[in-house]
Symmetry: D2
Subunit: 382 residues, 4 copies
């Protein structure tokens, strides 16, 4: 089976998330970085391509060149998929053009800046039939999948409540004024969009809650702040939630919790039990049933759901982490692409990845939360 | 030094918290249960007194009898302090009468049903000069005291945010309909007051946050629900907070998080660091400074604040727990009573306990949160 | 029911463990400190008694005086039990005299200096019929009792292996040369006996393993060292074990593991599952069955064994600690004394405490381990 | 920079560790699987090669064919490195032939069956100058490197003691009789060698202790058993250790600790502090200094040593795991190969990987431990 070929937009020298995407795509040896427009600056783009062993004629100076150059190749030599890892403001034009050109797409989150752009992509994807994944990578953790499956199977009884928290501390000072590239674009409305922490990590929290519970947010009441003086976007938020089916919720997203690393955690409560998961210790899912002792569900064991078992590479007790979870999202996208290419349906466990619809829902969520934060009205409909 | 004498109101057979108070008062051998009106039912009250080794002439049939009976004794034979451990609705009349009769008082929380009653007690205590402690017992943990001292000393820099959560699961079903006495009165508005979870545990959370941060809540935006069908009071709540000095906050109180035991936890975030404490693992306080590794502050060590060191009995690594913390509140009250009796001032580390003012603030907080829960207005002033 | 009366030997000003015994005995309000010979120095002994509210005529200048003085009282006014909390070298004469005088006894561990002395006490106790408890206090933890009951009930299948570790760091330097009283006597062969760490904490480890597994050590192969230069007794040891019934074992006792507090932990492995318990987090017992997820057994829950449920005072999630466990040992002794006094048999859950036989076995264990440490022979019979 | 080319021996269909090696080698996109003799059965070998996308002319039927076939190619088209992932008995002939043919080698552990074979490889490597890595993969964890650097820098003071434990439960029953391929060869003396658990995981423990402390074992006193009836090799062991420079040690290796996954943990104790690390939670290294609170050193932070920082891909709080650590060993090997190819010296942080000498020391350790287990002599020299 030939490896898939991908072309990357963004992710050149000094970028962060591009390298993660490349490692995730490489881990299972299913895909090869074949082309790239790795920077908005053409020279840097080409040099970055050379660094990464991309052939010179496929190290493009811009994403438009890349799309054109690849389309000019014979179909069986073309990249299969465009991977977009730029700052948020570039997602929309690249994704739109790539989909219109018939490429499959993997795009980082949040999907785009506005709900209208998001809807346009949803419609385009529906029309063209391409595979479009959005890298809400935390959904790739095996125990997140198991949690989702437990909820879906009714193992928690009737769902009542979800509490999701995503806390970081790295923006507790005005690091964007100190030359930190990652901080610069994330706190710049022109590149990041209307939201800071809420877009960067709040959207992960929304997606994780929706993935595990299978419920979508219907109302929000948000308390949004910019805590660090001089910052242009929000960096701390708490949001009261209502989800489908009468489920209550709470979402916290903060980048000013000093000394905190990447503390994404979720609790899901039903009539028959609760689940507790922390991204910093991802190989453990604690299940506290309504009666009897709590249970430590651990990655890699045969008592886990088929999806959770499929999403793992090594036996229990050998930890898997962030890159492996990220790679699981890629595996789902790759399965979908290969099925598409082979003209076959996906198997029951195949093709698990966050879609363009998930991405669009995330954008709408961000819009409503920011609106709520500025409003005196208690609840805002989503 | 003679042990202090106390008389207990409530806490007879089948009661729960009365036994905890007695253990806490006994632990350090500073006080003796000398009198009691241990039940609202006179026969049971007297039998309970006999169970506990109270002399027959001081096992009273009612709290009124107890106050009268003790007042009738010579001053040097009288109880020093009245301990009130009844359901909430009885706190007010007993406390009022005891203070008016010149007894010192220890009263369980929440103090009383209404802000007006609370204010009356505050005024009475001010006028009579008695010692009046409210058993917000979690403040007695040594590491809670250390956390408070770190904040006060500026070790977290400028305070920004506090997140406090008090989660339980024991009311995830309608246990009040199954003969559970503890659940019955806590979910009965006549006995518990206007609030259920918010009164029972939300008030602990408020007090803990206020104790550690030294800041008081000024505004609330609450999402309050009664999740279990048939219940008469709230059992799940999330409250957005504003505290003095621009500190942001979040408070969660829930009794329907299935499988959860007594998960009271707090995080405090400042410009220079954060603190993390969990009541279920109370001998550890994690401090994450703005830079450098997190620090595990552990009970009993000489690097802790004088107050934290004073509030401990045994060396590091031998866990102390709930009763020890409760006993620390009692020690503070006892110190204050002895100082009063000796006509001397309290030393700098003496007399640490939640006062009637703390109790009154807690009652006002509950009132405002319940009001906010029923309101469409986003923020309510406290 | 009248409280029991106890007289304490040792435990005066500056002592440590005496205060723990008094708190443990006081916690459940079953016994009162009535007499004392609290120091080997008569003046200090009497002053210490006064500090503790002992009547002047029962604040004795020596333990001999105390035994004589109490015997001179009418039987219904006499102390019921003698509590021995002196350095180890004083245990033997006091215990012997107290038993011979017909008093019940609680004695700290290790019981005495030699196996011969221990056997003498065992025989004396058998002859006199007094109650004699040895405060291997860790056996009082509810989850230790539950672990013992699981093993006894066959829930781990056939037992294979036990690993017990007791690590501390407080003797990592020569603190006995710096005026530390606790370190001084523990490292002084005249007072502590032939063993240092092995006697002070290794004997706890042996007792814990024996209590939980119900198996006794039959062979040892020990590696014993004095790591800190200038110290007179061992401070670090590892011992390979054989126990009854083909069970393998390993015991570690160290007081030089820098920065470690009181890290007593045990793992028990059978064909059907394993147990894991740590004294520093005593409210959790992890059970890993042969298949299926690990289970977090937590103190206070109704799924625990009757003995474990009986040994707890407060609901799940409110931690109990060291003093509560210690108090459980006292409760067992008190039950046995009251049964003896009432001339009745103990009920099935009553009278759980380490006996003089446990104490004697501990002394023999220490002797054999020290012998093995000095021997080139691989295995030594116990 | 062209990717390195490797040929794999073993690791075909149904194998386990081969896939881990391939993922580890792929993760950082530094090497490509170019050739393979993936099974001892030629047809399966070729089919496995096809599964993995190896060109048909490089999917060899045997390792001899692979070495010959690759040597027959022009030097600039040849594989750079032979990766040996077969059962242990095949390591020696393949490694020997590969080194003699001038290939660089990566070989799984334990290196070979006998000390004599090991020494032969050491000598051969010295003579030929090839790069030879042994995949003691746990040394690749960033915090293991930081622990090593802390010890080397004297941050623990003078070293006193190391305790290393490697516990598993998967061989608690006779799974080798149930068709489990991984268990079959590991418990078969013909393939595994003289040791079972001691070879499979005890050697990892020895290597981890040696890596972190920089000290080698000089004496052992071992208690070795075959606990599961019918098994042909040891499955449970405890070994008392003496290391260079007066350091004491203890090593536990067990595969019968029911319900345990892959619990490799190590504690290192010095005069100034201790370190605690667990493979199942590898992103945390706890440092307990002689005074002051314990410190949680977490992967990815700038306070870690240069080697630890280099061995990480993603920011703090995004967990890295087993494959990433394994990949770090590969990165070290690849750096050494590229330096060799370029004729340049390795930089100060380059080329970190366990060498053939480490492998040979591991083999000698296994031999001595097994000898000690069968001996009545207390200590055996290594």
């Amino acid at each position: 089976m030939r490896p898939l070929r991908y072309g990357m937009v963004g992710g050149g020298r000094n970028a962060f998330i591009g390298a993660v995407h490349r490692a995730a795509a490489a881990l299972d040896q299913q895909a090869v970085l074949t082309a790239g427009a790795l920077s908005s600056e053409p020279t840097r783009a080409r040099e970055s391509a050379r660094d990464l062993g991309i052939a010179d004629d496929r190290g493009y100076g811009s994403w438009q060149e890349m799309l054109d150059g690849e389309l000019a190749r014979p179909a069986d030599d073309r990249i299969d998929v465009v991977v977009i890892v730029t700052p948020n403001d570039v997602h929309y034009p690249v994704a739109k053009a790539a989909v219109e050109a018939g490429f499959h797409v993997v795009c980082d989150k949040p999907l785009v800046h506005t709900g209208a752009q998001a809807q346009e992509l949803v419609d385009l994807v529906a029309r063209t039939g391409v595979v479009f994944g959005v890298t809400y990578n935390y959904t790739g953790y095996p125990l997140v999948r198991h949690a989702r499956d437990m909820v879906a199977n009714g193992e928690l009884g009737e769902l009542r409540k979800v509490v999701v928290q995503y806390s970081q501390g790295w923006l507790a000072t005005l690091v964007e004024a100190t030359g930190n590239k990652q901080a610069e674009w994330r706190t710049d409305p022109a590149r990041s969009g209307i939201a800071g922490a809420m877009g960067d990590i709040g959207s992960h929290a929304e997606n994780l809650a929706a993935t595990i519970t299978g419920r979508h947010v219907t109302q929000v009441s948000a308390d949004i702040a910019t805590v660090v003086e001089g910052r242009l976007l929000d960096d701390d938020a708490a949001v009261l939630l209502r989800l489908d089916g009468g489920v209550r919720g709470l979402l916290v997203a903060s980048q000013i919790e000093t000394g905190t690393e990447n503390d994404l955690r979720i609790r899901v409560h039903g009539t028959e039990g609760s689940l507790h998961w922390r991204q910093e210790e991802p190989n453990l899912l604690v299940h506290t049933p309504a009666s009897g002792p709590g249970r430590n569900l651990r990655r890699g064991n045969d008592y886990l759901s088929p999806s959770a078992q499929k999403a793992t590479r090594i036996p229990p007790g050998h930890p898997e982490g962030y890159i492996e979870a990220f790679a699981n999202v890629y595996l789902g996208v790759f399965e979908a692409i290969r099925a598409k290419q082979a003209g076959r349906e996906l198997g029951p466990l195949e093709g698990q990845f966050p879609t363009v619809e998930d991405g669009a829902r995330g954008v709408r969520f961000i819009e409503r939360v920011i609106e709520s934060g500025a409003s005196n009205q208690k609840w805002i409909e989503v």
